[in-house]
């Protein structure tokens, strides 16, 4: 009885010891182990920025307004019909003969603008135009697949390549508005507006977009102003 007890005790002790030994050795197994799995809990471990979680808006008045449908084949002028426009001139144009006297500054100004209207040139060289067109088409395709963020990325790429092309801003603004980012859309449209001082169709389009954005933001006064502005270019 006494012997059995000690044997059992010793055996138990040894097994315990063995287990302890095993446990002691454990740290040496995994000094480099990181048990986090990216795939398993991305939202928990890797906090994404708010900017990457676009708000989908489907039933805003803005999104349903025909003027801001960002499809390439739609009848919206900026994406379809406008290709040839006047190139703005920054260099002063040496204008009228001096003896046309007092009205000169005004005339000068008019001449300048006449010349501006006459100088017809595409917004971009043909080759750059092709790149931009392709990127815009890619963006449209991505958006159609429901990949809005990816579409935004393609448009940003186009913006870097052709930062003065109003088409890019038109598309970016419309996309942001359809994502519910009305404040961002409004500002992009305002930026687009600065690129098209002599292009009525674009001006009309951008003002419509600004109006829709402001309406979305609840800025009725601003919206009214935008409507008045857009009417000027209709």
């Amino acid at each position: 009885m006494y012997n059995n007890k000690t044997t059992a005790f010793k055996l138990g002790l040894l097994i315990l010891l063995a287990l302890l030994l095993g446990a002691c050795a454990a740290p040496s197994y995994g000094p480099m182990v990181e048990d986090r799995s990216v795939q398993a809990r991305p939202s928990e471990r890797i906090s994404a920025t708010s900017s990457n979680t676009p708000v989908k808006v489907t039933d805003t008045p803005a999104a349903s307004a025909p003027a801001i449908t960002p499809k390439p084949q739609s009848d919206v002028p900026p994406t379809a019909t406008i290709t040839i426009t006047a190139q703005p001139i920054s260099k002063p144009i040496i204008a009228p003969p001096i003896n046309q006297a007092a009205a000169a500054p005004l005339v000068q100004d008019k001449v300048q603008e006449k010349v501006q209207e006459k100088v017809k040139a595409p917004t971009l060289p043909a080759s750059k135009q092709a790149v931009v067109e392709q990127l815009l088409a890619d963006a449209d395709q991505l958006k159609a697949q429901g990949k809005e963020t990816q579409a935004v990325i393609q448009l940003q790429r186009a913006q870097r390549i052709a930062p003065r092309d109003p088409k890019v801003y038109a598309r970016l603004a419309a996309l942001q508005l359809s994502l519910g980012e009305a404040a961002r859309a409004e500002q992009l449209a305002l930026k687009g507006l600065t690129l098209v001082p002599n292009k009525k169709t674009y001006q009309y389009y951008f003002w419509k977009l600004i109006g829709a954005s402001r309406s979305h933001l609840g800025d009725s006064e601003g919206e009214a102003k935008a409507i008045v502005e857009s009417a000027k270019y209709k």
């Binding site: 097994i15 063995a18 040496s28 995994g30 750059k128 067109e133 392709q134 992009l188």
Partner: protein, 753 residues
Amino acid sequence: MSKQRVRNKVTSNSSLGWISWIWIFKLTTVLLVLGVVALIYIDAQIRHRFEGHRWSLPAKVYARPLELFTGQQLAQGQLKFELTQLGYRWVTQAKAPGQVQKTNQGMIIYSRGFRFVGGDEQGHLVEVNLVGDKIVGLRQTSGASIAVLRLEPQLVGGIYPAHNEDRELIQLDDLPNGFIETLLAVEDRQYYAHYGVSPWGIMRAMWANIRAGAVVQGGSTLTQQLVKNFYLTDQQTLWRKLIEAPMALLLNIHYSKDEVLEVYLNEVFAGQSGKRAIHGFGLASRFYFGQPVSELKLHQVALLVGLVKGPSYYNPRRHPKRATNRRNLVLSVLAQQGLISETQKTNYQALPLDLTEAKQVSRYPAYMDLVRQQLKQHYQASSLSSHGLRIFTSLDPWVQQQADKAMLEQVGKLKQRYSNIEGLQGAAVVSHRDSGELLALVGDYNGGYAGHNWALDESRQVGSLLKPIVHLAALETGRYSPNSIIDDAPIALPQPDGSLWQPQNYDRKSHGKVPMYETLVKSYNQANVRLGLDVGVDKVLQQLQRMGVEQSIPAYPSVLLGAVEMSPLQVNQVYQTIASNGFYSPLSIVRQVTEANGRLLSNFPFAVRQVASNESIYMLQHEMRLVASQGTAKGVYRYLPKQQKVAAKTGTTNDQKDSWFAGFSGLHVATVWLGREDAKPTPLTGAGGALNVWGQLMQNLAYAHDEDIKPQTVAHYYLNRATGEAIPDKCPNGVWLPMLKTSAPSFNASCGY
């Protein structure tokens, strides 16, 4: 208890044999139990580690990819630089990815392709035609059209965990032909036949070593090597020795040979770069050859495989001779085993090592500071250093290199010219004009040094760099035009403490009544203070804050002359807003973050906010262009061709403690600051110091200018400088200035003289 045991032993002396048998039995049982427990435990460990998250992978930081398209204006030598940095090899005929071939009209590039956000870019074989440094033609050699080609982005850094272990994961499929054969020929010939351990292998290795007269083969199998590196520590303990073989056996039972081999390829230690440990053949290939492993030729493969035996002893950069011998030995083993012919062996052995220059862990410390800063706001530190995230930045390696170079060279020249500018430091910031993306950041005059970041962490008074903001605020009131007449007479203002503040012009003279544009062109202090006071110091500060300066600034009149401390990065933010036509967009660094598998986590979208009217900005830009063409900044044309449009401003603070230059040209906005570390006076003005760095930098960047777009409400008038009246354009000494049509000047047909 112990007494009892002693007595027990003594009394049972007679029955010794019987008792010892019991003890042997007991011991065996215990050992068996122990063994089983240990095996179960080891088995669990093996599977857990092998099937789980195997390695903590540092985040990879990428530069912007270079986009190639017809009409793209590059800087001189930029394309070549870019390809070299990406490890492209110049060959007589480009036949494989990563190769480039010179042609009469330009080059033929076989691009590698890359998994971008939003879609894979395939590798393409394209012909690029260049005239000067402009791409005039881009087409696939197959004849198919291609509008734009994105080269893969350069990997410019990583965010490392504490243990500094770095690797680039590869799969068996990524290996070039002959890689596995070479590895097995040297390390484990019977790999596909043994059970994880191989007694025969040990014997054969010994025999091979004796025959070769050197240690060419190791005795342990690849599986054992993997167990050693992957599961066990480096310490030579008995426990380790005991379990290595059973672990290898277990590993062999659970997983296929290919699976084990793939882990081995990624685990193997292949060298050390500073604190960073290079693991796996994927990263080793980048580290030594600057190429992906798939592109390696057999002599390079032989070197990598040879390195496994002792990466520091055979370090090919430090001991090229040793490494060459080792490589050639590996090639001999291949020939001995009939894997290559004797001729092939001789040919390969004659080839150079083909190493790239060693690159620093982070070649862009200043820029990386900012990347880390921005990411910390969105991600946990552990996510960044262990999940293998991919960080896509807007860093432009070419611009960064030119900025570093201009800073180092010009500061060197200044130090030579002036004996009394010990501790001269410098910082530079370059951004893309219309997107607000940060392209380069120089945080120390010696760009590679990672210490105090002078572009981010140092704020100094900005001096005359603030004058354009005074002008902008004035133009925004609608009461001022570039031709408005301002009085430059001396001015004295009582201070809160009763003393008088009497700012003076740099030349200590007064210039009477001058048109507003000239107060900027010549940087007159007295006139600008008067202008700012009329507009209101608070209005000027509000304008500044709308342009991205967040700190609160007390509204003292001295602010009008730049008694405001700002970092070079902040200054660039303000000038960026002017350059992008009055639209503020925060300078951005990170474009996207994705998981290792390409899944998009964050996109940092382009956003703008209009903070000044189009008209005011148009007129201000015109004034700033005059500063460069005829004013304090005209020294830039020592570096740039006359037809290049520059809008800029110099800045010099009291006692010439700080030398500033900020402005924009073509596609780039840049700010340069020079000053002493201890903020003591220097012999430098803005034009004498920072201007030179700015000029040299811009000289080496691609220049393409989009025409300025004049707002409808603005017209250009030819004006009499003294009176501000419009005059006939045949009059001498007039000046063309943009003005609001609503405040059109009166016309004087007699020139006004």
